[in-house]
């Protein structure tokens, strides 16, 4: 009899259907609120082009997240998807170019790689009884390492036929969006209709009950993680196709975005719940947010804060919705209305927070200055690039132009998104500091097509037209470093090299310049070469380890000042006395160490100058004035003698 009273309620009028849909899905409400807020704040947001951009920008995260949905529904976790995506893309590019395999075979091999990684995860978890967190954490490292091994640290150009995957159909429909929708439908189908999909919910809900009901839990888990690997491979291929090159360092940290998308979409990390549609909405929320914040020129640092806050709010909204949703049937009672009101209230707060934060943070595009310029920096995690920004901002102020700065966080695909957003905003000029010279090509070509002049700063853009390149010469700098270090050591001795992040162009160029410069000094022997990822802490750790093996070295070349400073810490009293350290960049901290005598020299670039000159050229280009194709900002070896007169 209780059955009957309930059955009658859902058949209510269709008018309340939409309201019900929104109440039942907190993430969808959050997405709609975001879209409305963004359209209200930026006239560039609600255009077909820009919405397609959002689709493209969501694609990789969404495809990864679909794979992770399977895992999370079955109460597991997969941290390896970002690395597996990079590995699959690398395998594809490597087998199709270096090994000359037919592209079809190469694609199959790449997908097989993804599945194999997933299967290994599954075996470790099912039969090795490792916790999923640990097994996939191990795979995160292994897959990333293998992709570096295969590519030898350099990006590999993608075969043209596969690069079409990053193109558009009929000139407007982007293939990544199609792939995303296709994978989404497959996910929904697998979860809803297939044996393995239904098993995922049972295993995630109660593994022991599933086992005692005859589900082959161990085998299912193999398949679940293999699915995740398969989707990661697909995401990797789409990502690399967009960049026309396979980056060994691509998709770092994407696993966290994917997990966030799944959870925003309403899945529980405890397992048993989750849907493909929710995951898609979660990925779209992240993409809309990044895109909108770019359009609104919110400061790069604040963007991260806003993204974090919105993730928390979206899930909070869903939690409140669930509590309210637990009592939808007993409508009419007072408490229920209160809870619904709470949901609306929270939605309003989210909206107000986003609108408020965005209008507060984006520094007045409303003031309508004459010229708008965008600058996409590879990272702002390093004083060098912060100085580029400072120089650029000072010059923009002086010239009275409106400058928007974004931070690509060393991620080529995020940079492609930012360039896309700049293009759809219709800026006067775009300045790019490429994360990678090859990977930026497709996005740069798109900028070319829109007739917006492109200025490269610090690193070049390959295979696309740039109005100007403003750079200091890394190869020459490397040679200069070799010369000064060798002469200081009297042409004789053993040295070690601390390399930057494997696969970055700066590391390659400085390293090759240094090697070339060293050829003139056969008495100098390089006893070790290890990467410390541009990072001071890692420089300290790696140097400490190297000293264990080579206690008697005479010199150190660090490919940037940060690592050099770490090395000096490791060397302790030896630094500047029995061991000479030479750095690169000439950052403020580096120059201070030069003055103190612990750092022998730094090959100083003039980042402020780079930023300044880049903006100068950008303004000229925007106004149609003639610009020099290549502006070389000189590098200088700064030692104790000349440090006093040098400022970055």
């Amino acid at each position: 009899m209780a059955t009957d009273t309930l059955k009658s309620t859902p058949g209510a009028s269709g008018a309340s259907g939409l309201r019900r849909l929104l109440l039942d899905n907190g993430a969808l409400t959050a997405l709609i609120v975001l879209v409305i807020a963004m359209s209200a704040l930026s006239g560039d947001f609600l255009t077909t082009d820009n919405l397609l951009n959002v689709g493209i920008q969501a694609a990789v995260t969404a495809i990864l997240a679909f794979g992770v949905t399977f895992v999370i529904v079955s109460a597991g976790i997969d941290l390896s998807v970002g690395s597996v995506a990079a590995l699959s893309a690398t395998v594809l590019a490597w087998s199709a170019t270096s090994e000359g395999m037919p592209v079809v075979l190469a694609v199959l091999l790449a997908i097989a790689t993804g599945i194999a990684c997933g299967l290994v995860n599954g075996i470790l978890i099912s039969y090795g009884k490792l916790p999923p967190f640990i097994a996939t954490l191990a795979m995160l490292s292994v897959a990333r390492g293998l992709s570096l091994v295969i590519s030898q640290g350099s990006p590999i150009a993608f075969p043209d036929s596969v690069s079409h995957l990053g193109d558009t159909l009929g000139g407007w429909l982007p293939v990544p969006v199609l792939v995303m929708v296709g994978m989404g439908l497959i996910t929904a189908f697998v979860l809803g209709r297939t044996y393995i999909g239904r098993s995922m919910y049972a295993i995630g809900g109660n593994e022991e009950a599933a086992r005692l009901s005859g589900l082959r839990v161990k085998k299912q888990k193999l398949a679940i993680y293999a699915f995740s690997g398969l989707f990661a491979a697909a995401a990797g291929i789409v990502l690399a196709a967009r960049l026309s090159s396979a980056q060994p360092q691509a998709a770092q940290g994407y696993e966290l975005d994917a997990i966030a998308a799944v959870v925003i979409g309403g899945a529980s990390l405890a397992g048993g719940t989750g849907k493909a549609s929710g995951t898609l909405i979660g990925a779209l929320i992240l993409a809309v947010l990044r895109n909108g914040l770019n359009l609104l020129s919110v400061s790069a640092f604040w963007q991260q804060v806003v993204i974090g806050v919105v993730i928390a709010l979206a899930v909070l909204l869903d939690t409140v919705r669930r509590k309210a949703g637990a009592t939808p049937v007993a409508a009419g009672t007072g408490g229920n209305k209160g809870k619904q009101a709470a949901t609306y209230l929270l939605a309003a707060v989210v909206a107000a927070a986003v609108v408020g934060a965005s209008s507060f943070l984006h520094s007045g595009s409303s003031e309508a200055k004459s010229q708008k310029i965008g600058l996409s920096l590879s990272t702002l995690n390093n004083p060098f690039f912060v100085q580029i920004r400072a120089g650029a901002q000072a010059e923009a102020e002086k010239l009275g132009v409106d400058l928007t700065v974004t931070d690509a966080q060393n991620d080529a695909s995020q940079q492609a998104n930012q360039l896309q957003n700049f293009t759809s905003e219709g800026l006067g000029t775009i300045i790019v500091n490429p994360v990678d010279s090859d990977a930026v090509t497709p996005a740069a070509k798109a900028v070319n097509q829109s007739d917006i002049p492109l200025v490269a700063v610090d690193r070049s853009v390959n295979n696309a037209a740039t109005a100007a390149l403003v750079a200091s010469d890394n190869v020459t700098g490397g040679k200069l470093a070799a010369k000064s270090l060798a002469e200081k050591l009297g042409g004789k001795g053993t040295i070690v090299i601390l390399q930057g992040q494997a696969g970055t162009s700066a590391s390659r160029e400085r390293g090759s310049g240094f090697a070339e410069g060293l050829k003139a000094y056969p008495g100098i022997e390089v006893v070790a070469k290890q990467p410390a990822d541009w990072d001071r802490t890692k420089g300290l750790d790696v140097m400490t380890n190297l000293l264990q093996a080579n206690p008697d070295i005479d010199g150190v070349f660090a490919e940037n000042d940060e690592m050099a400073l770490g090395a000096i810490k490791a060397l302790g009293a030896k630094a500047g006395k029995s061991v000479q350290v030479i750095g690169f960049d000439g950052t403020a901290d580096g120059l201070q160490a030069v003055e103190a005598g612990t750092l022998y020299a730094s090959v100083a670039q003039q980042p402020t100058e780079l930023g300044r000159i880049a903006v100068q050229n950008a303004v000229k280009a925007a106004e149609g004035d003639k610009v020099e194709k290549s502006v070389m900002v000189p590098v200088k070896v700064v030692t104790k003698e000349n440090v006093a007169g040098f400022t970055g």
Binding site: A2, L6, R193, Y195, Y201, N206, A209, T327
Partner: protein, 509 residues
């Protein structure tokens, strides 16, 4: 109106959940130094009522008076402050902390900002002594058996200076010896002036321990009677009708042996276990908790491995440790831990019913969802599962209905040998009888049933043969007409290292 001895009074309490009015105009009161039994079928609203006293729910209407003053209880802190302590069926203990740490969790005595271990353990020792349990305060809770866990919970309640102690089916998981011990403690607490709300399904416990009984039916309090009320009358109040027969076993014709187990051994757990179950027969397995009964049936079902022996179904050997082989052969297991092993709690009734048949309903990887739904609807109707709809989450069903879902999923799979491990634990009288009827239908249809139960009257009432296990061995076998409580208990506490003497001794009866 207020009485000096009155600790607690509840007047006209109402609480509604989606689709269900859980409680409506319920009255209840508790005096110092009494054991007030709360009686009702599962789903009648007992749990909802005590959750309102512990602060987990707030009432929609009505008043709660504590010590004569009207109060609102908004959370665990409130109820703690009011001196109300609740011991749930699922214990709230942290397995990897010590007994003393668990007793004083969150209130550890501190000295200079550090936990004063010495004092905490000394205090815990006093409390444990008061409860009359010999456990070191430094023992890890994980190492304790279920009865001792309960004693630790009681000690924890005492440490809070509880004046009202609510016990939700404390005897459901205890052996009869342990129940006696528990009763002794409860009586002592009663002498100390503590008011005790005692929930139980065992009618005989009411007479043994209770002072007054409040009966709740379908969310309403239907009467308050003295504990000396005859059991028949209590049942009538509880189910609203009188139950003709508590154990309505109808013998079916005994057919060929469907399941034979030969010399099954897992070292250190069970040894040389052999028995047969025939078509149309109910074989009960009795014994003390820890005698190895659950372990044996799990091994037979392939859920756990075994070292020696063989399991045959219909004459062919089953591979060991292979649930799927056992299922294919037609064995089904209703596990002892319904929520932990039998159900996916946050999935719907439909999904749970379709779990076992998921594979057979799959063609080319696709599940026949429509067929699954029709089958689920049909079996749910046949079993009389009381639910809001097939989409209702099983977590929100009452215990008896949950158990029906677990049984239902095996019925859908055409199970020939059904193993029931504690099938009626925590289930009310009405639902119990329904499950017994189901067992009758199964055996009438030619299936074999193997039933473990710690409820002696149930084993005796429903089994055609009773196997008694003790210390991992079969201590003896009794035909239904020879099986008495005394005979079973004698075997259950015997020391059957040599199986032969055990069997002969039983035959001597």
């Amino acid at each position: 109106m207020s009485n000096a001895d009155e600790l607690l009074r509840i007047e006209g309490i109402r609480k509604a959940f989606p689709g269900v009015v859980a409680l409506d105009s319920v009255d209840f009161d508790l005096r110092r130094g009494e054991v007030h039994v709360l009686l009702g079928e599962n789903g009648a609203g007992k749990s909802t009522l005590i959750k309102m006293l512990s602060g987990a729910y707030t009432p929609d209407a009505g008043r709660i008076l504590v010590g004569g003053k009207e109060t609102r209880i908004h959370g665990a802190q409130d109820s703690e402050r009011l001196g109300i302590a609740t011991i749930y069926q699922e214990f709230n203990l942290v397995p990897d902390l010590t007994v003393a740490e668990n007793i004083f969790l969150g209130r550890q005595p501190r000295r200079f900002g550090m936990i004063d271990r010495k004092r905490m353990e000394a205090d815990a020792e006093v409390l444990l002594k008061r409860v009359g349990v010999h456990v070191s305060p430094r023992a890890r809770v994980r190492e304790l058996g279920i009865a001792r866990l309960q004693m630790v919970e009681i000690a924890k309640a005492l440490s809070l200076d509880a004046r009202v102690l609510i016990m939700d089916e404390p005897t459901a998981v205890l052996t009869s010896e342990e129940v006696e011990k528990l009763f002794a403690i409860v009586r002592k607490l009663r002498e100390d002036g503590v008011g005790i709300v005692f929930i139980t399904h065992h009618l005989e416990e009411i007479a043994a321990l209770g002072d007054r009984v409040t009966v709740i039916r379908d969310g309403r309090s239907v009467g308050q009677v003295p504990a000396t009320t005859p059991a028949d009358e209590l049942v009538r109040l509880m189910v609203g009708r009188s139950i003709e027969q508590q154990y309505p076993r109808e013998r079916a014709d005994r057919g060929a042996a469907l399941l034979s187990v030969e010399g099954l051994t897992r070292n250190g757990v069970f040894h040389d276990v052999s028995f047969e179950v025939h078509a149309g027969e109910v074989v009960g397995i009795a014994g003390l908790v820890g005698a190895g009964r659950t372990e044996v049936v799990r091994a037979v079902f392939g859920a756990d491995p075994y070292d020696k022996g063989a399991v045959k179904v219909g004459g062919s050997f089953l591979p060991k440790y292979d649930v799927n082989a056992a299922m294919t052969a037609g064995i089904g297991l209703i596990p002892e831990d319904r929520k932990g092993q039998g159900l996916v709690l946050d999935a719907s009734v439909e999904e749970n019913l379709g779990l076992v048949t998921l594979r057979s309903a799959t063609r080319a990887g696709l599940v026949d969802l429509k067929g699954q739904r029709e089958a689920a609807a049909q079996i749910a109707g046949q079993l009389g599962v009381r639910m809001a709809g097939l989409g209702q989450h099983v977590r929100t069903l009452s215990g008896g209905n949950q158990q029906k879902v677990v049984i239902g999923k095996w019925l859908l799979a055409d199970t020939k040998v059904l193993i029931l491990d504690e099938p009626t634990r925590g289930i009310d009288v009405g639902a119990k009888v329904e499950i017994y009827q189901l067992i009758n239908e199964l055996t009438a249809a030619g299936a074999a049933v193997l039933m473990i139960s710690s409820d002696l009257p149930e084993v005796l009432g429903m089994s055609d043969r009773v196997l008694v296990m003790a210390q991992g061995r079969i201590a003896g076998e009794l035909p239904a007409d020879e099986a008495t409580q005394d005979a079973v208990m004698a075997l259950a506490v015997s020391n059957p290292t040599n199986q032969k003497t055990g069997t002969e001794a039983s035959r001597g009866h």
